[in-house]
């Protein structure tokens, strides 16, 4: 299709203006509002005791969610890529489920499962293990929404690679864990890294599910996203912009990593 220069220019500007109005300009406004009172005000706002607690809590959640997803996600991806078994397509569908579930529904599901009046209410009532309104609830909510990332990034890589190297290693007498550590893991490193990056970004950014299962107490059970909402609702607008900018920088970092990894993957493919 050869487009006339006029049409080509028109389409170009439609696309640019659309993206600018929708993404670039709003982001620029937030950045301007955050930094126009000066970097000092920004540092003070993200350095309050409540903000530091929120940062610590969010990082702690990430520190638990990422290893869980790697520990269970990589073997799941292995079994999906390498094996045929009954119910494989069902398993695939389940892995994709979190993409189709609203975050509020995730919160409701966890409350109905682990809450004191829930299906597994005995865990809290008889064993005294509080899940909802406590730290495990936040972790479970974050794991639910991040389940697909590592699996979906590692599985296609495994699929493409094939089993030649692993089988060769096995015939040379390596144990399964030696093969895994020396052969499989390095070969999936880009997919795994990107899956981890997505998991971190999503965990730090989860809001809808966490606001329902957390007791939202400042300094105790507020994640960074909960703090943004709390500050806005209290009328501390500047404070909410500051934390939002902090979270946005994480998102930008994710984009940068994505560009870098894509470049490396392209180079590796050559």
């Amino acid at each position: 299709m050869i487009l006339s220069p006029a049409v080509r220019l028109l389409l170009r500007w439609v696309a640019i203006v659309y993206v600018a109005i929708l993404v670039l300009i709003p982001v620029a406004v937030i950045l301007w509002r955050t930094f126009s009172p000066g970097v000092g005000a920004f540092i003070a706002s993200v350095g309050t005791p409540a903000a530091i607690s929120a940062l610590q809590l969010s990082l702690l959640v990430v520190a638990i969610v990422v290893p869980l997803n790697v520990l269970f996600g990589v073997p799941t991806a292995l079994v999906l890529a390498r094996n045929r078994f009954r119910g494989k397509s069902a398993l695939q569908a389940i892995i994709d489920l979190p993409f189709a579930v609203s975050p509020v529904v995730v919160g409701v599901a966890l409350i109905l499962l682990w809450g004191s009046a829930g299906l597994f209410g005995f865990v809290e009532n008889d064993f005294g293990l509080k899940i909802i309104f406590s730290f495990p609830g936040i972790v479970l909510a974050s794991v639910f929404v991040t389940v697909p990332f590592v699996i979906r990034e590692v599985e296609p890589v495994l699929h493409e690679l094939g089993t030649d190297q692993e089988e060769a290693s096995a015939t040379l007498g390596a144990q399964w864990w030696q093969t895994f550590w020396r052969i499989t893991l390095p070969s999936i490193r880009w997919g795994l890294t990107y899956g981890i990056v997505l998991t971190v970004a999503r965990t730090l950014g989860e809001f809808g599910a966490v606001i329902m299962v957390s007791s939202n107490l400042p300094g105790q059970s507020q994640t960074l996203t909960l703090l943004v909402a709390d500050r806005y609702n209290r009328g501390a607008e500047y404070g909410s912009y500051a934390i939002a900018t902090l979270l946005m920088s994480v998102a930008v970092l994710v984009l940068v990593v994505q560009v870098v990894l894509d470049a490396r993957r392209a180079k590796a493919a050559q």
Binding site: R33, T76, N83, P103, G208, T225, Y232, S240
Partner: protein
Amino acid sequence: MTSAVAVLDPPGAGRRRRGNTSLRVGAATLWLSVIVLLPLAAIVWQSATGGWHAFWLAVTSNAALESFRVTLTISIGVTLINAVFGVIVAWVLTRDDFPGKRLVDSVIDLPFALPTIVASLVMLALYGPNSPVGLHLQHTKWGVGIALLFVTLPFVVRSVQPVLLELDREVEEAAASLGADNWLIFTRVVLPALLPSLLSGAGLAFSRAIGEFGSVVLIGGAVPGETEVSSQWIRTLIENDDRVGAAAISIVLLVVSFVVLFILRAVGARAARREELAP
């Protein structure tokens, strides 16, 4: 090579490998069940214990129906808009070149990576009470719409982009040489090839839009009948301790999401097959 490996396999390896498989499948299933399936099953359980009558009452209550109306109309509108603009943006990114194209390309993914509450604040900064352009969209369905446009922007673009990239230009050139004008080429050659990925992206966008909470909560204001989306109504229900009602509305949202994804995937698959079979 494989046959050589089979000969050199130590005895019992086949059985061990099969045993390993079922162990790993079992572990994967257990992990996914506890994390994903059980919570969703709890919603069904709660609804079942309430009974069919309570389910029906909750789903047909005035507030629920209004929230469905608001959610579906805004989501359908947003999906259609982003389907059209998504194709345009993908087209410009693959077939055009201009300074700053790389920036535009990477910025498209920002809504994916951004926390939803930050997206709400971002939209509010430009379209809220302190709007620098004088557009006060808070508490209106346009505000909700623009927030949903923001978060669903990447879906269609990223679905269509790779297909556009791989598109065989020869067919277009052949059609052009036979005298077809651009519009005909687009509707008869390009669009059918894009349809499966376009529908898939649109389905994902719609599914995301109907469940979206964080990005509409600040700019929408939950005005019943105007901007209160179903996810907000669900949250109100659970805070008011109406667990049966919350479960019922959640089930409706899930079913709509699954059905739309399924239909669009099926239609897309059929379109893809028709493309392959076309001479």
